[in-house]
């Protein structure tokens, strides 16, 4: 301890707490049926600093389990961000929870901060408390989170008759000086008492990690295909409790709730859990981490590998909440990491990957107002919408990027931009009727308002494609994001910057083919070869091109210069494996294959967790990826 340290006698400390209660929304640790919770304090007598651990972490005050983010009007499609101005004081936060909050800060305040989280964080004073009672399942000392040097405004050590108070920030100092009386400087003995208390803590932990915490990521790289995942997950109830009580889990879901008048409502953010079967489910019904063992494993990989690689910290603070909450007692990170380390040799496969550079989203929580300028029906299930952003004069994006389309009252959905960058504030979306939002879009009319967040994600970097031959491979609706790039490349000004162009496009039946009229025009451009196919051609339908899956079209073209050809592939998940095999057989390098992946991009900001493929976020590091960057990720093409 080398900061500014004071001492209050117990009575003066209680008076200090009561003064805080009279002036702020004051939250402290209270008893609830034999357990502990952070809750509003009515009087200092309720405060318990002898708690082992609270059921939920103080995270709930910054990222509430149920949070009204936006208040909106359905008819006008107007939304307003809901703030939370309350000045709060939270008393009794243990060191591991302070470490967890610091981690949350990196996730929610780094880059483009989450406005709501940031506001709450800035308005809240954290008064920490040294651990007096060690939770039976905690292994904080193994992670070094049983004590903490910063991240608090004040830090208390309750030594019975006296409470020793360390100053952690200027506002902490101010609150102590303003609301406490009889403050004395801590004596050498006081400081020694605190130091002794802290020194003795590690020995009091029953659970310990057998490996150094820095070794956890390396351990996990080795044990991706370990029998333990299957063994343990068999017992998993899939109740999500381990993640819901976790101070470092931060995934959330978003939904719109409207009132009985159908006129107004709120956009809600709620905690979600990657253990739940529908976590990755997209509108078409596809689920990406289908197996229970994969979801069970995913949680440990987030804690020990994915988040450490992204943010450089182990996303577990050893609080023991998950194992306390887990009924079959399989959620214990210490036990899992220890077992894996002992049985490392049983693993049948590794997971090695590198982080991919991501794009900082140009978006906040509140969508920007936009209007539908033009609607063009394309097929039975697809319509083209021209959207104009009302909030700006120009909308800059790269082909392959997407936007979150928002209709207040229905929700949001990620949609690829289908037009080439134009410089003005208009762009086109092609929308297939498949879920709630897209169904609503199909019933909307020109002139109706909606919201847009974006552009989001990483698109095709056109600079990297210059001088190359380009081979586009589109399956079904995959033509939509590719159209943005195709139109860009084929435009008069840009055409000379690229080599030969091949376009292979397959859909289910002739009536599912999109942009057939445009294809005719594209064909006319210099050095463009287009090949089309349908899976089947029902009787009575006209079709002058190939029949078969899109890969059959590879037989119809000759790739003249495979080493200098870049292939751009977008289609349904099942398509990639087969197309990529054709491309590799044709001699195209994996660094020259670009794919765009579909996942459940909900927040678009790399936070909500739904679009994650192993350690990468599709909304941030994708949706366009270099195949060489992702080919070793087991969750990519399941």
């Amino acid at each position: 301890m080398n900061g500014e340290i004071y001492r209050l006698e117990k009575d003066d400390f209680l008076a200090f707490v009561n003064n805080l209660i009279n002036s702020f929304e004051t939250i402290g640790v209270k008893e609830k049926k034999g357990r502990f919770v952070f809750s509003h304090l009515e009087s200092a007598a309720e405060l318990r600093l002898d708690h082992d651990v609270t059921i939920l972490p103080p995270k709930k005050f910054f990222l509430p389990p149920y949070e009204k983010m936006i208040k909106f009007n359905v008819g006008e499609q107007k939304g307003e961000l809901l703030g939370d101005n309350a000045k709060r004081v939270i008393i009794g936060v243990h060191p591991y929870d302070i470490v967890a909050l610091k981690q949350m800060d990196m996730v929610y305040m780094e880059g483009r901060p989450d406005e709501l989280y940031k506001q709450r964080r800035e308005n809240t004073i954290i008064i920490g408390s040294d651990i007096l009672r060690v939770n039976d399942f905690s292994f904080a000392s193994s992670l070094g989170t049983h004590v903490v040097k910063d991240g608090f405004d004040l830090m208390l050590t309750d030594l019975g008759k006296k409470v020793i108070i360390e100053i952690g920030s200027e506002r902490g100092r101010k609150i102590l000086m303003d609301y406490a009386r009889n403050i004395k400087e801590a004596s050498d003995q006081d400081i020694k008492d605190v130091e002794n208390h802290r020194k003795a803590l590690p020995d009091r932990y029953k659970v310990k990690l057998d490996i150094e915490k820095d070794q956890i990521p390396f351990l996990l790289m080795d044990v991706f295909e370990h029998p333990l995942w299957e063994e343990e997950s068999k017992k998993c109830l899939q109740c999500g409790s381990c993640t819901l009580v976790c101070p470092t889990c931060y995934c959330y879901d978003i939904r719109d709730e409207i009132s009985l008048t159908l006129e107004d409502g709120e956009r809600i953010r709620t905690w979600d859990s990657c253990l739940l079967p529908d976590f990755t489910k997209i509108a078409s019904g596809e689920i990406f981490r289908k197996d229970k063992s994969e979801r069970y494993r995913h949680r440990f990989y987030r804690k020990g590998l994915y988040i450490p690689m992204r943010y450089n910290f182990i996303a577990c603070v050893g609080c023991g909440r998950c194992i306390t909450a887990c009924i079959p007692k399989i959620a214990d990170p210490a036990n899992v990491f220890n077992t894996l380390s002992r049985r490392k040799h049983e693993s049948k496969g590794k997971l090695v990957y590198r982080m991919i550079e991501g794009v900082e989203a140009e978006s906040h929580i509140l969508p920007e107002p936009a209007v539908i300028r033009r609607i063009e029906p394309l097929t039975e299930n697809e319509k083209l919408f021209e959207i104009e952003l009302l909030s700006r004069d120009s909308f800059h994006f790269e082909p392959g990027q997407f936007v979150e389309v928002s209709v207040f009252g229905v929700g949001e959905a990620p949609i690829s931009i289908s037009s080439p960058p134009s410089g003005d504030n208009r762009f086109e979306l092609v929308i297939r009727k498949v879920g709630n939002l897209t169904n609503r879009m199909h019933s909307m009319k020109e002139g109706e308002k909606l919201g847009i967040r974006g552009p989001l994600g990483k698109g095709f970097r056109v600079e990297d494609l210059e001088g190359k031959d380009l081979l586009f491979v589109a399956g079904g609706i995959g033509i939509v994001p590719l159209r943005s790039l195709i139109k860009y490349v084929l435009s008069k000004d840009n055409r000379p910057r690229f080599g030969k162009i091949y376009i292979l496009y397959g859909a289910r039946t002739p009536k599912d083919m999109l942009f057939m009229d445009e294809m005719e025009k594209w064909k006319e451009v210099d050095d463009v070869e287009i090949r089309l196919s349908v899976d089947t051609c029902p009787e009575g339908m006209k079709w002058n091109h190939s029949v078969g899956v899109v890969t059959t079209l590879f037989n119809e073209i000759e790739i003249q210069n495979p080493k200098e050809t870049v292939s751009l592939v977008v289609g349904p998940p099942v398509m990639y494996k087969f197309v990529i095999k054709c491309l590799e057989d044709a001699g195209i390098k994996d660094t020259n294959i670009l794919v765009s992946l579909e996942r459940r991009m909900k927040c678009g900001l790399g936070r909500c967790g739904h679009c994650q493929i192993n350690g990468i976020y599709v909304c941030k590091e994708g949706p366009v990826f270099r195949y060489s960057d992702i080919r070793n990720l087991p969750e990519v093409f399941q």
Partner: protein, 251 residues
Amino acid sequence: MKPRVAFFDFAGCEGCQLQIANMEDEILKLIEIVDIVSFREISDVHSGDYDIAFVEGSISRPMDEERLKDIREHADILVALGSCACLGGINKMRNRFDENELIESVYGDKKLVSNPFFNVHKAKSVDEVVKVDYYIPGCPIDRNEFKRFVISISSGKKPELPNYPVCVECKKKENPCLFDEGRLCLGPITLAGCNAICPSRGSPCIGCRGILEKPATECIEEIFQRYNIDYDDLKDKWNMFNFGDKIWRKE
């Protein structure tokens, strides 16, 4: 045009309809967005002309089946309201007994054989007789869920039920886990949507919303040992809302 809705009851306590009748001031808002054309708990008008039929209760007699099929024919959307309609509910507990014995034990030696009102078969859920479009489970239903359902339908959204266990909602409410008190709670294997109303008031979940599609089975014995929970207790509980249909422990 506002959707026209009608309520129908079969074998049940009518408590689910009562939940809706008890919405009181919100009923006035409700009738702004739907036309209630038949709902005998709150109104004596009845029309056979409706778009959405809410069907409450389980199906117990041939005459009920006929009536239900008729409702299905008239309705564009048929919604099973409450656990009796969705799952067969507590009425299904009697399916383990012989019908004649049951009638005798309830009605004694009254001559009821030729009386069609007492011509009962095994209790059935609504979807064992006709196609059900949507389910609003619960014993009784949760008013807020009913409200959300009507809002969804009226605003063109597909109503959805949570596909996860009650624990999710219970954890968010920061309830101490009842297992830690050595009490058997069916929360971990019961579909959520009730906002963990029973555990939040200290009563274990009895599974009224029905069992998860794929409940975990492997860990039950171990859990019972760890928490010192009695198997007979489990059996009684799972029979209440016929969880036994989905075997989750080897007998």
